[in-house]
Amino acid sequence: MLDYIHLKIKRQNGSRDFPRWEEFKVPYKPNMNVLSVLMEIRKKPVNANGEKTTPVVWDCSCLEEVCGACTMIINGNVRQACSALIDKMPQPITLEPLSKFPVVRDLKVDRELLFEHLKKVKAWVNIDGAFDLGPGPRVPERERRWMYEISRCMTCGCCYEACPNFNSRSSFIGPAPLAQVLRFNKHPIGAMTQEERMETIMGEGGITDCGNSQNCIEACPKNIPLTTAIAQLNRDTTIHGIKNWFRK
């Protein structure tokens, strides 16, 4: 075992700056993860050549893989850095920012678009207001379980990074919001406004832009059944389309 951890980090000062690689050697301790190594660099910002440098910039918050903030590309795979355990990875470890979102600085990217897409598909239950109207609808536990699975999506962007049909020039709404549409359409109250969501995903950049590569489900750190959800939505949109046709 090496007595240091060897990192190669792709760094850039902004979205218009050229990226460059900088290497670091950080003293080894057991049970470290990528974030705790980056934190060590902050305490002594010196690169592998012994030159002083600026601390690496990255996003993080919860450090337990539930907030989704620290998503980056580690040894070529998109994942959260907090749960990337050093003892389980070959070295040198390469760190790169997500490639499909504008780089803010170093490993920090701008993922505002993910939230814009949730807005577009109206990913919410349209309640009248946050006040007490007594108990909500009863829900069978087996229904709740699959809706809960989808509602664990942390909007981290892994599925976007992995999806060949999404890039900065495509209008594809992406895998995660599609799964949310299904969840809200099947919720007893959410179902009351499902037509609005259906119209959105049947329009430009909607569900037909999915190329069925099934990369998203491989990349999802929470194992959300994205492809099953998209397949179900495909059927639902067909039925919705036929209904629309009869109404004409």
């Binding site: 000062n13 902004g14 301790k29 049970n31 470290m32 993860n33 974030l35 705790s36 934190m39 902050r42 305490k43 440098t53 600026t54 601390p55 996003d59 993080c60 918050s61 919860c62 450090l63 337990e64 539930v66 907030c67 989704g68 903030a69 907090c82 749960s83 355990l85 600085r105 920090k108 993922r111 505002e112 939230f115 949730l118 807005k119 109206k122 990913a123 919410w124 239950v125 309640i127 207001g129 946050a130 006040f131 007490d132 109207l133 007594g134 108990p135 909500g136 009863r138 829900v139 069978p140 536990e141 709740r144 379980r145 809706m147 509602s151 942390m154 909007t155 809200f184 919720h187 109250i189």
Partner: protein, 575 residues
């Protein structure tokens, strides 16, 4: 009418929603997208006396459990208001689509939690905070789409703008990408900025929980109440970068704490506290684990750790009800809690103390409100598990409307305040930022922060000796001296993370002294504050709320009587 809300956790988002519903325009500031706020880390559940398990649970019982759990330091009237509103809040969350676990009849299921004898905790697997946060985030997104709420994501609150009459008229904030600092006028400002776990270096908190916002307004005249009451969660995974929470729900669902004594498993909580067993309140469980490991030397493998054991439970049951924490333990420790007992130790977790607020959640500065963990209101000397999602939600729920009520009674709106008031504060903040940019000493701010954590955990931890608290405060003052000799390694004007951190660090150091000296002054043991030099609760002298005021030379303390109008203080017993 313009309200500014700082913070995108449960308290902040409910403040936003309730203010928007009342017709106000809202500017919402958050360090991170709301979905990444720290409420997300809450696991076990949210308390409400729904009484759907045939156990004769009641609002009154929830009230008494909360007051006794808090060792009688919480003001009782506000707590009563909270527990009364709890069932209605759960129902509102339910309608928003929160995926609460269900009974076979489709009702919201309830589970056991610490310090209680009835099932009262509604839950969504072991990621209840996440599910509640997402539901509110979705509702706020609806308001954003409707143009009633404007988001400022990736902005940090720097200070309140206070006019010549002493009223809060807005804020200054910094865009953490462009590093620009601006002043924003508002008729009322709600701080919902969470706890300050980063003061302890490593804790169960997210790294954004620095308490910096509270520390900033403390230096502007807001008093900080009951700072010395810091909850150590008994069951967290020891770690290098973070102490990861293993929910109390694991014990609520039957998990047992044990270690080896004389070669045999010893279930010390069950032996010492037969009435509540593994479900004693957190302060008591943490002290017991501390005693077993540190004082008796009986930690597992000779380390500061004991077992939290779920291996006797059915794997499917565990997955449905505790899946979230099982996943965290597997991912970060590489062992399966279904097969092997988890190793845990107490970790700094929750701050019962916070900004002093009145019953409307307004701080000492008129127009400046506080809600959620950053206020001090509902938990007294110790918080019961699953009461934090409740207090965060409830305080936001009432704080939004209270701010509107205040605005409607104002003589003069923020729009009529002279620009010079805003310019003055803006200049002050720009000067502070520039002074940090100029720091070229030899100290590294992240190293000082690490040492701050060590001081706090060693000297202001689970057990507090008078001597150690004094030593701790001396070390804090040394760190404040060394702070002046910081050198920043990054002078960039774009997405610079060092400059904001240095500013946060100073605010953390300020609050660290409030916590430490507050503890030193309180010559008794109550709830989470345990001083072996004064092992008993002393109601004659200390049934009082601590209020710390900032002065140049350190915190000045005042004390205020506690509202005990509804339940007469009695001995707190769980054995």
């Amino acid at each position: 009418m313009k309200v500014i809300v700082i913070g995108g956790g449960l308290a902040g988002l409910l403040s936003i929603i309730k203010a928007a519903e009342a017709g106000a325009e809202v500017d919402a500031f958050s360090l991170v997208p709301f979905k990444r706020s720290h409420s997300i880390c809450a696991q076990g559940g949210i308390n409400a006396a729904l009484n759907t398990k045939g156990e004769n649970d009641s609002i009154q019982q929830h009230f008494e459990d909360t007051i006794v759990g808090g060792d009688f330091l919480a003001n009782q009237t506000p707590v009563k208001g909270m527990v009364e509103a709890a069932p209605g809040l759960i129902y509102a969350f339910d309608r928003m689509g929160v995926m609460f676990n269900r009974t076979s009849e489709g009702f919201i299921d309830l589970r056991m939690f610490g310090g209680v004898k009835n099932r009262r905790t509604a839950f969504a697997g072991a990621t209840t905070g996440q599910q509640l946060l997402y539901a509110l985030d979705e509702q706020v997104r609806k308001w954003v789409a409707a143009g009633k709420v404007k988001e400022y994501i990736g902005w940090e609150f720097l200070s309140a703008v206070i006019d010549d009459e002493g009223l809060c008229r807005g804020i200054t904030a910094q865009d953490l990408n462009s590093m620009e600092i601006h002043a924003f006028p508002a008729d009322a400002v709600i701080l919902a900025t969470g706890g300050e776990g980063m003061i302890y270096g490593k804790s169960t908190n997210s790294v954004i929980c620095t308490g910096s916002a509270a520390g900033a307004v403390y230096q502007q005249g807001v008093s900080f109440a009951n700072g010395e009451f810091v909850q150590f969660h008994p069951t967290a995974m020891p770690g290098d970068d973070k102490l990861r929470l293993m929910s109390e729900a694991s014990r609520g669902e039957g998990g047992r704490i044990w270690t080896y004594k004389d070669g045999k498993p010893w279930y010390f909580l069950e032996e010492w506290y037969p009435a509540y067993g593994n479900l004693v309140p957190r302060d008591i469980a943490s002290r017991a684990i501390y005693k077993v490991c540190v004082e008796m030397g009986l930690g597992v493998d000779g380390k500061n750790q004991v077992y939290l054991d779920l291996t006797h439970k059915d794997p499917e049951f565990l997955e449905v009800r505790l899946g979230g924490i099982m996943e965290i333990y597997r991912n970060f420790y590489g062992e399966d809690p279904v097969k092997v007992p988890m190793k845990i130790f107490p970790a700094p977790h929750y701050f019962m103390g916070g900004m002093y607020v009145d019953s409307n959640h307004m701080t000492d500065i008129p127009g400046l409100f506080a809600a959620g963990e950053c206020d001090y209101m509902y938990h007294g000397a110790n918080r019961l598990g699953a009461n934090s999602l409740l207090s965060a939600s409830y305080s936001g729920y009432i704080c939004g409307p209270n701010a509107i009520k205040y605005m409607k009674g104002m003589k003069k709106s923020a729009a009529d305040v002279p620009q010079s008031v805003f310019d003055r504060e803006l200049t002050r903040q720009k000067d502070i930022a520039e002074s940090i940019y100029r720091m070229d000493g030899i100290e590294n701010p992240y190293v000082i922060h690490e040492e701050l954590g060590e001081v706090m955990i060693t000297d202001v931890g689970v057990v507090r000796y008078e001597k150690s608290l004094m030593r701790g405060d001396n070390k804090l003052q040394e760190l404040m001296e060394r702070f002046k000799n910081i050198g920043i390694h990054d002078t960039g004007r774009w997405a610079n993370e060092v400059v904001p951190f240095v500013r946060q660090l100073w605010n953390m150091l300020q609050l660290a002294r409030v916590i430490t000296l507050g503890a030193f002054n309180r010559k008794e043991s109550r709830g989470s504050h345990y001083m072996p030099d004064y092992p008993e609760r002393n109601d004659d002298q200390w049934l009082k709320t601590t209020k710390a005021y900032w002065t140049e030379s350190g915190p000045r303390f005042e004390y205020e009587d506690v509202d005990v109008s509804l339940l007469k203080p009695r001995a707190r017993k769980y054995d």
